[in-house]
Amino acid sequence: MPELDVRKTDRKLEIVLNRPAEENRLTYSMMMLIRDTVIESQNDPDIRAVVFRGKGTHFCEGESRQDLGEWPTEFAGRAPGGGHGAPPLPQQAMISAVRSCSKPTIALLTGHTSGIGLDLACASDHRLASKSAVLSDGRVKEASHVATGITHMLPRLIGLSQATRLILLGDKLPAEEALSMGLVHEVYSDKDFEKQTKEFIDTIARLATRSYSIIKEQTIEQLDMPYEWALKHSLAVRQTNVIEDRMEAADAFREKRDPEFSGR
């Protein structure tokens, strides 16, 4: 069985973490494959949603504890050893690719989401949780580094005060509480999770995908810009993208029907 199960079905690319016996803990090869898959998905106009999920009970408990596998060749020159252990380069490469992916990204959180699993969820656009899901980051407690993007992303998602609770205090957040602070967008019962997340994803996959990408690009990148720069950035993004679906949207509005977007 491959560690990562990648399926393309009907507008969607599903990336399934497939190490259920290890709570879907990530290895280096999984990180590199997720990074490559996400980057490639951007060139495929048929893919209109990228979904992350975990096989079995848990979404992802973190990175592999016992054996992360072989250090990726591309980082061969960048010291895997040292007193602090290997640097988090493969982890960062994966998280950066997911965060800047131009396609809509959705993380389906079941069971435990922890450590790098929380980074992966936070780098995605939408987080849907099952009622029994728990979000946490145990890395401080485990005396390991927290250097994979979460310290940048989480304060912007929920504010520094609540981010402190997760990262420094190590609180475990039940799905309902994560929902109330806006960290997850929907919570569904465990029984209906499969069905209701499918509806959510299908709705996303029928949106005008290029329009979505442009809005996402502005939002994510402008988090790091002063206000005046952001306005200029918006102008540049607008002037360099063509959204074909605009015509369909106008037609559908005139004809009083739902639009059928191509995603281009």
């Binding site: 250097a147 402190t164 790091d224």
Partner: protein
Amino acid sequence: MSEGTEPLVFDDREIEGLRHIRLNNPKKLNVLSSDQQEQIIEAILQARDDTAVRCLAFSGEGRAFCAGNDIVGPSKPLSQYSQHQVKLQIGSGPIGLHKLITTIKDFPKPTVVLMQGFTLGAGYDLATSCDIRVATTDCKIGDPRVHRALWAAEGWSYKITRLIPQAHAATMHFRGELLTGLRAREIGLVHRIYNSDTDLLEQSADLLKYLVALPTDSFADAKRLLHMNLDRRFADSMGTSI
């Protein structure tokens, strides 16, 4: 637990590894004078360099954690800030308090504040500089300085929009409304709340013991990145995380 008449008490006895800074001027609701702020800075720096200290807690005796700066008492200029002195009848300015809240923010070990009664002005600045905020459900928390036509230049404008969603800043700062502990917990500013009639230190003992036992280096590293990355672009944050 109140004892002695010193307006500031530095206690190490309650929990091993905990340095506890108690404001002990309950008759004046623990308002902070410039001198006291300097003493607290000194104590924090000592605790920073003392490897036996693994967590820092602040609390106030009596009806309030801290009702703010001492705006009634004599506001004498501190010699080390003489170059910042403004020759107007508006006190010493925020320089001393700036140093206090920055020293707390940069403290590389867990910082906790226990709040009951009132946490206002300078007390609020102190509290929002700590990692973990514990309050009673009815504690009044906020910044009423707008109502006193006072400066409010002690860093809240940077911190509050990063600690909690920006929308709350208008209520708390433009209109100077006070939050209850309960409401502060709802919007995420406070991390733990307890009933008003309970002893906060007793209630927080488990939390404090937990924080004392955390791996100190790992905590320091995560805290440093969390604060540093507030001002960094994502790509930069990745580069500096190694």
